[in-house]
Amino acid sequence: MKEAIARAKNWYDRWGGVAAVALITALWLLSLPPVLPAARAELNTSNAIVGSVLDAQGQPVSESLVSLWLEEGEAPAATAETSPDGSFILSLPPYFTSPARLEISRHHFTDYAYTLSAEESAVLAGGDSLVLEDFTLARSFGPAFWVATVIFIGMLVVMALERLHNALAALLAVAVIFAITFAGGAITESLFIIDFEHDLAYIDFEVIFLLMGMMIVVGVIEETGIFQWLAYKAYQLSRGKAWLMTLILMLITAVITALLDNVATMLLITPITIQIALAMGVNPLALLFPALMSSNVGGIATLIGTPTNILIGSYAGLGFTDFLRDLTPGVLMMLAGLVIFAMFYFRRDRRAAPGKVSPALLKKLAENARIPDRKKLVKALIVLAFTLMLFIFGEGIHLTPAVSAIIGAVAMLLVVNPDIEEMMRVVDWTTLVFFMALFMVVGAIEEVGLVSTIAVAIRSVVGESTALAGIVLLWSSSILSGVVDNIPFTLAMLPAVGYLNATVPGTANNILFYALAIGVATGGNFTLIASSPNLVVAGIAERAGYRISFVDFIKVGAPVTLITAAIGMAWVLLRFL
C-alpha cells in the first residue's frame, strides 16, 4: 500500500502539472458553444417568427425556450431557443393555423405568453416571416435565488474567516450549488439553480491561461535574483540616504509590480530590504511600508499588474495598451501622492541610528543580493521584453493577452529553463482552480438574478450621472475590498458594472471598469488582510523581529487608501469626463 502511494505521488510529481493543463484544456473545449442551428436558420428565415427576449434591464436573455402553441394542440408545434444576444428564429410548421400563441419560459424568470393577433397570423399564413417587438421577461425570485445568495455570502464569510482554503471554499460552494440543482431540482423546479454545461460557460479561460502563462514567466524571473539585486542597487545608489533609498525602492517595486506578480515581488524584496535597513541603521518598517503600498498601487498600471485587472480587462475587452493609455498616467499621479505621504509619515523612522556597519556585514549583504547566473538572467529579461512587446503590439493582429502570455511562457521554457516539470510545479494550480470555481459560483448568482438586483440597486442610486456612478463604484469597491477578498468581489461586480456601462449615459469609454480597477486595487492597502503581499511582508517582518499588527497597518493603510483612491478618482473624472 505504501509503495502504491509512493508510486502515485511520484506520478503526480512528474505528470501532475501536465495532467492539470490537459484537464483545463478539456474543460475549456467543453465550454465552447456548439455550432448553433440558428446560424443555419439565419439562411432560411422565410415563414418564421423572429424576435428577441430581454430582461427588465434591457439585457438579452439567452437560452429561453420559445414555444409556438396552436389551438387545441397538446404539445408545442415548434420550439426555438434564444441565442446569447437574446434573439430567436422560430420556424413555422407547414400546418400553421391561427389562433396561435407564443410561450416563453426560462429558469428564474416568470413565464410569458403572447397571443398572435389576427393580422400577425395572416402574415404567417401567407408564407412570410413575422418580426415581433422585443419580449421582456420579469425576474422570478424563488427559493433558488435565496439559496444561491446564501451560498455565495457563506463562501465569502468562510474565506474572510479563513475557515477553509479559498479554493476549497469556492469548490464547496460549486458542489452545494449543483447538489441543490440536481437533487433539489428533481423534487421541485423552484430549486433549480444552474446546470453544469451552462455554468462551465462562465469560466473565462482567457483569464486562466493568462494567469498560467504569467505564473511561468514570473516563476523563471523569480529564480534569477533580480529583485534582490535591484534592492541592493537602490541601496548603493542612495549612498546611505534613507529618504533616497525609500524613493528608489518605491519606484522599483511600482515598476516591477506593473509587469510581474506583486506577491512574488514583495516575497523576494522584503528580506533583503530588512537587511539593507539594518545596515543603514533605520527601522525596516520605514522602508517596507512605502515599498509595499507602492507595489499595491503600481500593479494598477497595466493589464497584467493585478489579478483583478486581468479579470476586468478580459470581461470588458480592455487590452494592454488600453490600460497603459488610460490608467498608467493616473497611477503615476497616485505614486507621487504616495511618495509625499511616505516621506512625511516615516520621517522619524528614517533617522539612522549611530554606528558603522562592519565589512563582514556589508559583504554578507552583497552576497545575499548577488545574481547567481547572469546568462540566465539576461535570457529571462529578453524573453520578458519579448512577451511585453507581444502584449503591446499583438493587439494589432488580434492576439489576445492569454495567447501572448502562453507564447511568452513557452519561450521562457525553451530559451531559459528547459525543465518543464519544475516549471509546471511553479504554476499555482490551486489558484487556477480557485478562479475556475469562483467563475462558476458567480455564474450561478448571475443566473438567479442576484447580480442584476445589485446592478439595479446601484443604478437607482446613481441615476443618469456618469460621474456619480464612477465615484460610487470606486469608493465602495475601495472600502469593501479592504475587508473582503477583492477577487470574488471583482468577479461578482463585473456583470453589474457591465449593466451600468450599458445603461448609464457617457460610460462607453469604460470609465466604470477603470473606476472598479482603481477601487479594488487601492483597497488592497487599507488593511493587513486586504491583499496577499501585505500578509507576506508582515509575516517576514515578524520573523525579523518587527511585528506589524492589524492596528499598526491600518494607521498607515487608511490614509494611504484615502489619498490614492482620491487621486485615482480625480484622474478618472479628468480623463473621461
Binding site: 506578480d261 533583503i272 562592519s358 556585514l361 517576514i540 523581529g545
Partner: protein
C-alpha cells in the same frame, strides 16, 4: 567553557536579549550560540501563489545576516559566539538545538519578541523544555535594561 544558547531574531527586543546573554557569558566565561528558528505558517493566510521554496532560501539568508549582527556584537564584547539557523516548529527545534549544541543554559526573549507567545505561555514552554532536556531554560528578565 560552557555554552549558552540564546534564541533570538532581530529588532529592539532581541537586542536586549542578546545583551543579556552576552553579559551572562562574560560573567561565566562562556561562549554563546545564537539560535534563529523560523516557520512559514503565515503563508497559509496568503491567498495567492507564494513560493515556499524561494522564501525559505531568502529567510535563511536574512537570518544569516541577523545572526551575524548578533555574533559581531558578542565578539565586540569579548565573547566567543556562533549561530545556528533552524526551520520548523519553535518548541521542537529549540529542544533539538539545545541538545545538539551541548548548551548548559538556554535564554529566551520576552513575549513581544517571540511574536504570538504570551508570558505565561513562554514560562510554561521553558519549564516543559527544561524538564524534557534537563537543561535550564530561562526568560530574559523584564528588568534587563536596554541599550
Amino acid at each position: 567553557m560552557s555554552i549558552i544558547l540564546c534564541a533570538t531574531r532581530g529588532g529592539e527586543e532581541s537586542i536586549h536579549t542578546q545583551d543579556y546573554a552576552i553579559q551572562r557569558a562574560k560573567e561565566g566565561g562562556d561562549s554563546i550560540v545564537f539560535l534563529y528558528i523560523f516557520d512559514l505558517d503565515f503563508l497559509g493566510h496568503v491567498k495567492l501563489n507564494a513560493r515556499p521554496d524561494l522564501l525559505t532560501e531568502e529567510i535563511v539568508e536574512m537570518a544569516g545576516f541577523l545572526m551575524l549582527m548578533a555574533v559581531e556584537r558578542a565578539e565586540y564584547a569579548g565573547v566567543t559566539a556562533s549561530s545556528l539557523i533552524r526551520h520548523g516548529k519553535f518548541a521542537a527545534e529549540l529542544a533539538a538545538a539545545a541538545r545538539s549544541s551541548g548548551a548548559s543554559l538556554v535564554i529566551l526573549g520576552r513575549p513581544a519578541e517571540q511574536g504570538h507567545f504570551k508570558e505565561s505561555g513562554l514560562v510554561t514552554l521553558a519549564r516543559t523544555l527544561s524538564d524534557e532536556t534537563g537543561i535550564p531554560f530561562i526568560l530574559r528578565p523584564a528588568e534587563q535594561p536596554g541599550h
